[in-house]
Symmetry: C2
Amino acid sequence: MNKYWSETIKGIIPYVPGEQPRTGRLVKLNTNENPYPPSEAVLEAMKSAVTERLKLYPDPNCTLLRQAAASYYGTSPEMVFAGNGSDEILAFCYKAFFDPGDWLLIPDITYNFYEVYADLFGISYQTIPLTPEFEVSVQAFAEPCDGIILANPNAPTGKALPLIEIEALAKNHPEAVVIVDEAYVDFGGESAIPLLPFYDNLLVIRTFSKSRSLAGLRIGLAFGHPDLIEALIRVRDCVNCFTVDWIAQAGAIASLRDETTFRSNLASIVNTRSKATSLLRAAGFEVIASSTNFLMASYPGLPAKGLYEALRSRNIFVRFFPKPRIDQYLRITVGTDEDMSILLDALTDLT
Amino acid sequence: MNKYWSETIKGIIPYVPGEQPRTGRLVKLNTNENPYPPSEAVLEAMKSAVTERLKLYPDPNCTLLRQAAASYYGTSPEMVFAGNGSDEILAFCYKAFFDPGDWLLIPDITYNFYEVYADLFGISYQTIPLTPEFEVSVQAFAEPCDGIILANPNAPTGKALPLIEIEALAKNHPEAVVIVDEAYVDFGGESAIPLLPFYDNLLVIRTFSKSRSLAGLRIGLAFGHPDLIEALIRVRDCVNCFTVDWIAQAGAIASLRDETTFRSNLASIVNTRSKATSLLRAAGFEVIASSTNFLMASYPGLPAKGLYEALRSRNIFVRFFPKPRIDQYLRITVGTDEDMSILLDALTDLT
């Protein structure tokens, strides 16, 4: 700490991302990356964008990317915003829609960044407990508020909320902005994008970091009423007009055009998830049925922290959250079959 | 405007970047990009970074880039921060060092974003007039404050402040953070980086968008005491842990290693600047002596706005700022000799 730091920064607890270890041989199942690489077509599109044009600022409006996304998702470009990863867009949302004194509702167990943003920008919030089964209860989100933010499917629980319940949140809170982070929806949730024509208070956030194998490129999208998108554009133009570089715009467009690889990788992950869930259960683990590319698993009677550390010493990285209610679980990214086999062997050995 | 917008966003005037026209044939001298492309070595380094590794999150700490920058600038990696363009870093500075109620001093004529950030984050500020000769007067910045932010050389005036005066600002304000934006320093200013060991309140910001021909890639750096850098890291980790993608990290490192092309392009621009200054003066323009890659030029008796529009209709894009004191000037990026020749022919025709 330092006398030059702002009071906000002195007091805040930043988000702690999963480790990005740089050692050579490891099984990395800790940050929900895709085990399958971007396709050759996507890599080629990025290479083709490495040209002399990089001397010029990128298109600040990501025109072609927004057109491609609108076409892919059946909406219009003015309902699409592109950012340098979905985290950037989520942060922009807090400045776009909320002022100090506003009141947000956030699930008590979800992506920790939602609370960090609120702390950073001085927005008040209440955490709403998930049910004992880790479900989002729409009834529990009944109280008046200025905004609701949640992930669907939720992280790190892996549980998805039916679309009708997302719709209920938007319908019950016409004065609030309801932000649905669909980082994991491609793995088994129902997207709220089809609801957008009916709810001008609904914003859907997507990332290319999980299902599209592009965590290293940094691409996120938001979908919503043009007025909500315009607010995000205003925030961006108060921060950094050019957040998505030329190469990222090209890679994201190519990803949206490569449906075959995308679907094939998703199918592989869902298949591996199903097998790993069964095998973990057979090995004595309790595993939450997952709609995402990760599993929450606990072993009755064995502290998760110890398992996490033991795995780590074997160069197998999973995630452990020292947080009430979930500190008995390991969060395990669904990797390849081989990754999961190595993990299962180690866990069998450790339990 | 919309009922869901935050009060801040309803009231704010975002930064207006120079146009990024997409028409084919034009002379683009409006956003201070480098007329020379990144070298083959830099392009190859980026292409080599387009690999399967993009499925993984990038190194959040930009370890290799910070090492390369520390080595290049003669400092240490813990005194370096890397961001998605210098604008992102500047925005982070406002959250890192200032709270509402704090008081900033900003030159009245400078990069307009400094005021936009203050408006966005609710930081109070006073604009300090430049002298009639568009000089920053250190005496005018004497009053107590929590921060000073200025560009050196300044934009859009193109004038540089001697290092001894930057030092005086840091020395006179030991309780304030003094932020020096050196976006244009490679074209003719004196960098304050050598002062950093002596002033723990001094932060120097750099961009790869101008002198390094990488506007389309988005890379900025900050240099300062490790405590200041740590505050920027905390802000980043409250917003978006991974702001600089793999390819940008690789391109930036390669740029720092390609001194020959860098120096050669700088020399060409400085040479063209010198010739264009003489020719514009010979054509009747008043031209401020520039330490940057742009010129501020006015033609006595002819409104700059009209000239700007007339050039635009000929597909020659320069910048015009409808702002007191500078609304008689065109800001003209120094392009290639050929660009400047086309511009001069048009201006001769129009005056």
